[in-house]
């Protein structure tokens, strides 16, 4: 229980970072970032074994994470900074000229913690499979995680990768889908319905586990189970129900906050709902 409370306190600070970063440059994607805050916090502060002192691209003997839906860069950057990959004060440079914290994550500026560029959707699972296959060749037992959006499932490459991961038994791969039901043009169910996503992955040969991605206890338990279930022949999909804009009452559940920045007044309102637990950057 103490662990869950600790993670929730970190998540509160991460959410503050997200809205402050997006407000600071008046651009970026707060909605999905807020929805996935609990997942990324649990991943980096509880489940993943990572080396943060000196970032190594090869990720040997550590768990690796890929953010396929790169527009969730605010939550990714905040979690990386709070975990110690780079200076927390660097968050203030988000989306600014010459910053390593580009609009979408990239290795191009050498930001520690980032292992590939993402933003153009649908590519992260393929990248994660490659890293997972590399771990197998190196007899490295650690895991590879990847987060995708639900709208991102409309990209064809995702299904090429889904077929490969199951067909080639990439069982050190754990893929998560941020199932918030929203995309830029509106509800996913209207823009391009996904059908029964869990059943689709199961029919491809995946192990599928659905859970509430905004319940820290459930997130932690699901991740712990994923590690226990790994290395048994099948890739795993974590179908994570979340609310876009989670944690801020006027943002929650609306696709309008997919890619919009808060005003000064809205920022003040948002921050009043989130406890400053670790100190703002």
């Amino acid at each position: 229980m103490i662990e869950i409370q600790k993670l929730e306190r970190i998540a509160s600070q991460v959410r503050r970072d997200i809205v402050r970063m997006v407000h600071g440059c008046q651009s970026g994607h707060p909605g999905g970032s807020l929805g996935c805050t609990d997942f990324l916090t649990a991943l980096y502060f509880h489940e993943m074994k990572v080396k943060t002192e000196k970032f190594e691209m090869n990720g040997l003997d550590e768990d690796i994470f890929f953010l396929s839906n790169g527009h969730l860069s605010p939550v990714f950057y905040s979690v990386l900074a709070r975990r110690g990959y780079f200076k927390i004060s660097d968050l203030g440079s988000f989306r600014q000229l010459h910053s390593a914290l580009q609009g979408h994550p990239t290795t191009h500026e050498g930001l520690p913690g980032v292992r590939i560029s993402s933003g153009s959707l649908g590519q992260g699972m393929s990248n994660a499979i490659g890293a997972a296959q590399a771990k197998k060749l190196l007899k490295d037992q650690s895991l590879v995680f990847v987060l995708m959006g639900d709208g991102e499932q409309q990209e064809g490459q995702v299904w090429e990768a889904a077929m490969y991961a199951a067909g080639k038994n990439v069982d050190n791969l754990v893929a998560a889908i941020d199932y918030n039901g929203q995309q830029i043009d509106g509800p996913v169910s209207k823009v391009m319905p996904l059908g029964d996503l869990g059943a689709k992955y199961e029919s491809f040969g995946w192990i599928v586990n659905s859970f509430d991605g905004n319940n820290m206890q459930e997130v932690v338990e699901t991740l712990e189970l994923a590690r226990k279930t790994a290395h048994q022949g099948k890739p795993q999909l974590l179908l994570m129900k979340t609310e876009m804009g989670q944690g801020i009452d006027f943002m929650v559940g609306s696709h309008k906050w997919h890619g919009a920045a808060p005003t000064d007044e809205q920022l003040k309102n948002a921050l009043s709902q989130l406890e400053e637990t670790l100190g703002d950057y």
Binding site: T106, H108, G122, S126, N127, L137, D140, E160, M163
Partner: protein, 316 residues
Amino acid sequence: MEFIIQNYQDTRSGFGVGLHEVGKANPKVVALCADLIGSLKMDAFVKDFPERFFQTGIAEANMIGIAAGLTIGGFIPFTGTFANFSTGRVYDQIRQSVAYSGKNVKICASHAGVTLGEDGATHQILEDIGLMKMLPGMTVIVPCDFNQTRAAVHAIAAYDGPVYLRFGRPKVPNFTSDTEPLIIGKAQMLQQGTDVSIFATGHLVWKAIEAIQQLEKEGIHAELINIHTIKPLDDTAILESVRKTKCVVTAEEHQRNGGLGDSIAQLLVREFPLPLEMVAVNDQFGQSGTPDELLTYYGLESQDIIAAVKKVISRK
């Protein structure tokens, strides 16, 4: 200079032999293929290093993405499919996961150009050099024969960075030395001359050799340089040649737009403007036919190079 044909071999077989050799020498070399092992001549690698071979099925986008991921573990992935599926089909995957991410992926592409033959325009990509050379940090290599393609594989395996390696389907004269290494970015002088500089790449290098032999009989002393590395271009060798000859012909199995001629024209416009003629496909799609019929129809034969030489000399 005498050019001796050792045998007739396809450049893709040079790739296959080279891949097997680098795979044997370096356990970090891995290979991926999208259902074209036989066409890419990757059989020997697959047979001897099955644990380092990844069959992706007909899913090229996923193949490029997996290759990028494999580099993160320190591996050196070679992807193999036709040139069309290696570039146009997966441009965004190469752009984001490989080039922008700075990943050490070797994109190896066979059946480039019209000499693919009977399959027709859907498979005969003539735009791939342009697509690849536009990507920041991408190295683009087009070897001219079997031996040079094999040497190219060794060179790119030892080089750290993304590479596009283009080769082809038909058996063509194999004339370069089987011991000469390919030095990335260093043009290969094939014959010194004074009247015109011919810069050729890929299959058109042998066509250019045939052309200069005929031209010599007519009293025209052509300089012939093989540009196997289109990017980074060997500016120094090119400028040194054209300062002497004062006119230029380029020859390639590619569109004028975006090809070798385009790169050399840009260099000359910046540094030393001169008359230039391009032997290349001019804004057309290919079609079904034999390789020889297609080379003739699209104006990529030795007589086309000869005509271009005479024209450019008249423009001096």
